[in-house]
Amino acid sequence: MAYSDKVLDHYNNPRNVGSLDKSAGNVGTGMVGAPECGDVMKLQIKVNDESGIIEEAKFKTFGCGSAIASSSLATEWLKGKTVDEALQIKNTDIVNELALPPVKIHCSVLAEDAIKAAISDYRKKQATRTPTAVEQTVA
């Protein structure tokens, strides 16, 4: 199978590889997929407490080149967006950007799921979070 130049670029130079502190209150972690399906994506976002903007996004992916490229692209797109804006990212956007063939569409679906899972984790944490000293002053 021939890969698009963009998939190859993300595979050869993956953006934002790594991990954030998953216990931090302003970090949301999403992990989707399963080893026996051949794809596991871990995607993390770090949201700025004041602006509500995603200031960092990191990923690690076990999967084919298209899965790696989809998650790498997702982290690029997440940075600088608010959480609400991030929820607007659709798997079809990823398919179009990376020119994924039909057999690889599930990779983009997984990336969208990972974004949603990370945001949902972040929101859950926010809801139960005891306000810190800084936040109390802001409030």
């Binding site: 595979y11 993956p14 080893p35 596991v40 690690k60």
Partner: protein, 404 residues
């Protein structure tokens, strides 16, 4: 050494230039039909065909009259299994094969099941070998054929063919083996190995594609096969169709070369394979060999690189031709059924690479591939959430994964 490097010799092999030289005159100067009995063009072709037949027979230790030509191993497997099933239908309707067989055998058996035959698919042990006791127990008075391959195309595991043949002989059941991966690579002798029918192909032993053969035993026992194609009654009535003379000349020459050079070549192949293995094991942790190392073709290595998915691994070594048991590289989106039959979890099957070393590979190529793989696996593991979790001491088998 110049990439791309070909290490997929179980899929097909480069034709030996000596084979091509032998074939060329039979496309042009000596183009006759081997069935033309009344002129020199036909006689020349017939002579060439008989020489090829003899060269094959010499390699596998049979009489030349026991070799019939086909278009390749898929046809040979079909002809052997369907031909026996049809010929011996009055004797019984039960066939025994194994879960790790090639699709040409498995799908042929499945087809026969639709026509009222009963098929037992023997499981294999963790090392890829069939369990002989299980084979014994599976044979009934309705069993007419056992079909078990000589060496596996994915894991290179060599079955205990001699013992299987002995069991079949004791029970009066015919024994067919798909010999394509073994013939010309390791010693195969139809008499020592108690084989009644054997499939052969040209392109796995540095010969041409599109030509194969079927060994059919003529005495003790005399095997009969019902032809699956109707026509001029060529090949003792078992396989009609004008003979592929240049192909047969090539297949014969490939067998003759293999026979002459096998002792040396086996040593060289084992040396290269073991070198590849030890370099990979020295450079990486968490790599596993799939299938028995003891009962294995010297050309084969099949390894799983844990926490790394096979297709992404192939992408990183795109100037090296190998294949993977990962679902992403197959048309069916299922990981290798052969590896799964060994009891491997899907995760290990997804992480597997098959290396098939061949006559034209060099030590420098092996070193290049080993170094490159160590680099790519290391890089992909840095990217792998599974590797990270494993390093944190998390038992991946206990994780509840979120998926559809």
């Amino acid at each position: 050494m110049k990439p791309p490097i070909y290490l997929d010799n179980h899929a097909t092999t480069r034709m030996d230039p000596r084979v091509l030289d032998a074939m060329l005159p039979y496309f042009t100067d000596h183009f006759g039909n081997a069935a033309s009995r009344n002129h020199a063009f036909g006689w020349e072709a017939e002579q060439a065909v008989e020489k090829g037949r003899k060269q094959i027979a010499d390699l596998i230790g049979c009489n030349a009259r026991e070799v019939i030509f086909t278009s390749g191993a898929t046809e040979s497997d079909n002809l052997a299994i369907k031909g026996v099933a049809e010929m011996y239908a009055e004797k019984g309707n039960h066939i025994i094969t194994a879960a790790t067989e090639h699709k040409a055998v498995l799908d042929t058996c499945k087809k026969l099941e639709k026509h009222g035959y009963r098929v037992t698919y023997l499981p294999v042990k963790g090392d890829g070998l069939v369990d002989l006791d299980m084979l014994r127990e599976s044979i009934t008075d309705k069993t007419i054929l056992v079909s078990i391959m000589y060496a596996n195309n994915e894991i290179g595991v060599i079955q205990p063919v001699q013992e299987i043949g002995k069991i079949c002989r004791e029970r009066g059941v015919l024994f067919h083996t798909d010999g394509v991966q073994a013939i010309g690579k390791v010693p195969v002798d139809v008499n020592k190995d108690n084989i009644d029918i054997m499939s052969i192909t040209g392109h796995k032993l540095y010969g041409p594609k599109g030509v194969g053969a079927l060994y059919v035993r003529r005495k003790s026992p005399r095997v009969q096969i019902t032809a699956q194609m109707d026509g001029g009654g060529h090949e003792r009535g078992m396989r009609s169709g004008t003979l592929n003379v240049p192909g047969i000349v090539g297949l014969g020459e490939a067998c003759a070369i293999a026979q002459r050079e096998m002792p040396e070549e086996m040593k060289r192949m084992a040396y290269l394979r073991d070198r590849l293995r030890s370099k990979l094991e020295a450079g990486l942790d968490e790599v596993y060999i799939n299938g028995s190392m003891e009962h294995r073709l010297p050309q084969n290595l099949n390894m799983s690189f844990l926490y790394v998915e096979g297709e992404s691994l192939l992408m990183g070594i795109n100037d090296v031709a190998v294949s993977s048991g990962s679902a992403c590289t197959s048309a069916t989106l299922e990981p290798s059924y052969v590896l799964k039959a060994l009891g491997l979890g899907d995760d290990l099957a997804h992480s597997s690479i098959r290396f098939g070393i061949g006559r034209f590979n060099t030590e420098a190529e092996i070193d290049y591939v080993a170094d490159k793989l160590v680099d790519v696996v290391t890089k992909l593991r840095e990217l792998s959430p599974l590797y990270e979790m494993a390093k944190e001491g998390i038992d991946l088998s206990k994780v509840e994964w979120v998926h559809d």
